[in-house]
Symmetry: C2
């Protein structure tokens, strides 16, 4: 049985888990925190990143790489568009989610409120978190507001894809941190995120996480 | 005719240009510096990154996305392995080159010596450059030394691929900056880089760049 290494609350781990659910691929799940630098984990993931996929002697320590590999291994149900231009667009939105949404939401907002305060019970600089909410999120939301569709849960080509999974997973972390998209300022984005999270492959994973993080009140 | 935006000396632009050469795809090339934040360029590349591929209304502002798109658009000659596991491995080496080699070589070594000193004629902190050479490069070289093959120019599956292109392009920048891999300390890596750079799709691009940067003495 292949092993997925990585903590469930990571947006990148969640991205892979949703694709695994869509494709119906079984795996063992090892909870590993990002930044784990034990020699054993660094042997698998030299940059200490999560997730890492391990299947015999195949070790892939990057979420986008894992998802691309899974699509090649088991093409159906497809999570990438088949049209080349739409395929390129979907990959770009995945890249944008991973490299623009994640840094805006992860370290200064989600990690502070959910991990340091919520799970570790430590004090955080709440003013710094609010500053990040006020300054780091709007440019990302502005860009996405101009990209997302008016209806449906598919930003590319009318079909739910890796683009929606990659964007949607970031907003799970935002919600876990007690924030959401202001529907007055970014109405299209707020509604799109809601539709993506209602997707049958997202909804149960979100519900299970909220429960395990004690956020299901 | 599609347009590739991005300065030739960028390792990411070079990665795409080599793939375009292999596939024999024609394009116009617009020299754009990384970090260009004109409203016109940000409209295409919201993170101000290079390269950016523009073909009618299709705009893809990321090198890995562009190359994946080009493979889907024109599958032959292939630049990715066809076996799923090898495909995953190749994507991982591309990711490692882009996110571990590039930060180690680019800003503190290549950009200082070649762009700021060489092209702009400004003073640089050479001691800081030497510190980066001594401290930032060895962990990357150590990892690659354990991965590269004893013979040939293919790190995955015996066939030259995006993995070799992505790794090889980073070492072009290192060489432009007057550094190279110490063959006494990393013999496999030093020999592999030499073989990759001798590949018929790398060699002419390197020669043209050295000439334009005044490095062909």
């Amino acid at each position: 049985m292949p092993i997925l290494h990585g903590a469930s609350a990571s947006p990148f781990v969640r991205k892979v888990r949703i694709v695994l659910a869509i494709k119906g691929i079984d795996y063992d799940h090892e909870q590993v925190m990002p930044g784990t630098t034990t020699p054993e984990y660094l042997e698998k993931s030299p940059l200490a990143k999560i997730p890492c996929w391990e299947d015999g002697d195949l070790v892939l320590p990057d979420s986008s790489v894992i998802v691309a590999y899974l699509e090649k291994l088991q093409p159906e149900p497809a999570v990438y568009p088949s049209d080349p231009a739409d395929y390129g667009r979907a990959l770009w939105y995945e890249e944008y989610a991973d490299t623009a949404c994640a840094p805006a939401i992860g370290p200064k907002i989600f990690f502070q409120r959910v991990v340091i305060k919520g799970l570790m019970g430590k004090e955080i600089d709440e003013a710094a978190v609010e500053k990040a909410v006020a300054e780091d999120l709007p440019p990302v939301f502005d860009y996405l507001e101009g990209q997302v569709p008016e209806t449906g849960d598919a930003i590319v080509g009318g079909k739910f894809s890796i683009a929606d999974i990659a964007i949607g997973t970031e907003f799970v972390n935002l919600h876990h941190a007690g924030e959401s998209v202001d529907a007055n300022r970014w109405p299209k984005l707020a509604a799109y995120v809601e539709r993506v999270h209602a997707n049958p492959h997202f909804a149960p994973i979100i519900a299970a996480e909220k429960k395990s993080l004690g956020l299901d009140s």
